[in-house]
């Protein structure tokens, strides 16, 4: 049942030009960045022979690429998640789900997985870009795997929060602006924190992504993303359930 709803979401995404435009624009921006990064690497490569332990291709090209992809996802997810529930509410189509023999949890999980499938596609394109380096060099697969995992967890957190914000309103644009604000806020919340052990660092999405970006798979960071995702999925379920109770 969850997969039926997920498939429907994916289909809805692809039946509007928005999804295709987002894919095309993201791919263009990331490819441009990737090429300039490869160029920069080729320019400095010769000097590395002097170092005992020079940074590798993966560190200099792939990790920054994933860091950028995270920023780009931050901008793209609000546009993709805004419609999930807000538009259904606006068009009064939620009744189809609410009168069907399915639970609110199934509805929310279905929508979440539908969006995750699309985000998975974006992550997949970034991975494909990194793997294309194999054409001329060897890359550090461990570092790549850490980045993929980090980006996927980050995408899940964005998707869950975006879904929750979409469930608060009947206006997709309001949901998009709200999500973007929330993502940016959580991204930079630790900017003003001077002490390294400030609790603001715990809150920041960026801080938790950084370790994955360096190739460190830290269970505390993974747990942060998983709990974050779970929290907002539960809140979205509660919110939809409340609608039935309060009207």
């Amino acid at each position: 049942m969850i997969f039926t709803i997920a498939a429907k979401e994916l289909k809805t995404l692809f039946s509007s030009p928005l999804a295709w435009i987002i894919l095309a624009v993201l791919e263009f921006i990331l490819a441009y960045f990737f090429l300039s990064q490869v160029d920069a690497f080729l320019a400095v490569q010769s000097q590395f022979t002097a170092f005992a332990n020079p940074p590798g291709l993966t560190e200099l090209v792939v990790a920054p690429l994933f860091g950028n992809a995270a920023m780009v996802l931050l901008m793209a997810v609000p546009l993709l998640s805004m419609r999930l529930i807000a538009e259904e509410r606006r068009n009064q189509t939620l009744a189809l789900f609410l009168s069907a023999p399915i639970t609110v949890t199934e509805i929310v999980l279905g929508k979440f997985l539908g969006l995750m499938a699309f985000l998975g596609l974006i992550v997949g394109l970034v991975v494909a870009m990194s793997l294309s380096l194999y054409a001329g060099a060897a890359i550090d697969l461990g570092l790549l795997a850490g980045n993929v995992l980090g980006l996927a967890l980050l995408a899940a957190s964005f998707a869950a929060l975006g879904l929750f914000i979409s469930s608060l309103t009947a206006h997709p644009i309001a949901a998009a602006v709200g999500s973007l604000g929330a993502f940016l806020g959580l991204w930079i919340v630790n900017l003003s924190a001077r002490e390294p052990d400030s609790w603001l660092h715990t809150l920041s999405l960026l801080k938790h992504f950084e370790s994955f970006n360096r190739g460190v798979i830290n269970t505390a960071d993974a747990a942060y993303f998983l709990l974050f995702t779970l929290l907002f999925l539960v809140l979205a379920v509660r919110r939809l359930d409340n609608q039935r109770l309060r009207g």
């Binding site: 709803i5 429907k8 068009n91 009064q92 009744a95 069907a100 023999p101 039935r244």
Partner: protein
Amino acid sequence: MPDITLNARALSRNFGLRTAVRDVGFELRQGEVLGLLGPNGAGKTTTLQMLAGCLAPTAGTIEICGIDLLEQPRQAKALLGYLPETPPLYRELTVDEYLRLAARLRRVAKPAVAEAVESAKRRCGLAEVGKRLIGNLSKGFQQRVGIAQAIVHNPRVVILDEPTVGLDPIQIREIRSLVRELGREHSVILSTHILPEVESVCDRIQIMHLGQLVFSGDWEELKQRHPAQSSLEEAFIQLTRQQEESA
């Protein structure tokens, strides 16, 4: 005694301090069309939303074929089909895709979906438009798609909220004959504020006004009780006026 397919007792619903529906009861038998009649704002839509499980009642119980809708929503909802006031249509899907989704959401087994969709299309006169996008169909066809999604899983109880609103006279006649046909195999509740509609399709009527039931019975009873009134219209006006005076 014929099977009772839907039994609602003492339903009430408050929105904040405002009471939209107060102490309303229903009994629906197999093979019966019940007309829920009332002026705009009488609480018809709220009542039907509660019967369809989209809105939780503040007080009262609802049983579908003996299964409590509030305690076992999954089993109970599988037995009902619901067309809200605004049909919950996805403009970007084709009629076939949409009906397949509706059938899957109503837990029609996968191998039976194609057959269920075909039969719903046949009954609603949609055979020719299966491949077309719902957004491009005329209002009359969209309304039929709305009815088709409500009957695609062959439910015992069909709830139709103003199924003929906004249609032209020919379409209205088609929808009415469809409702009569549905009434033979399923039990149907339909709400309307158009009096001749009730006269032509319903076996029994319930009249609501200001959130309360003011009449329940069949034609003969209504005529007997209001012998001075020559038409349904006058009886209706008198009933609602009495209610307003007593309130």
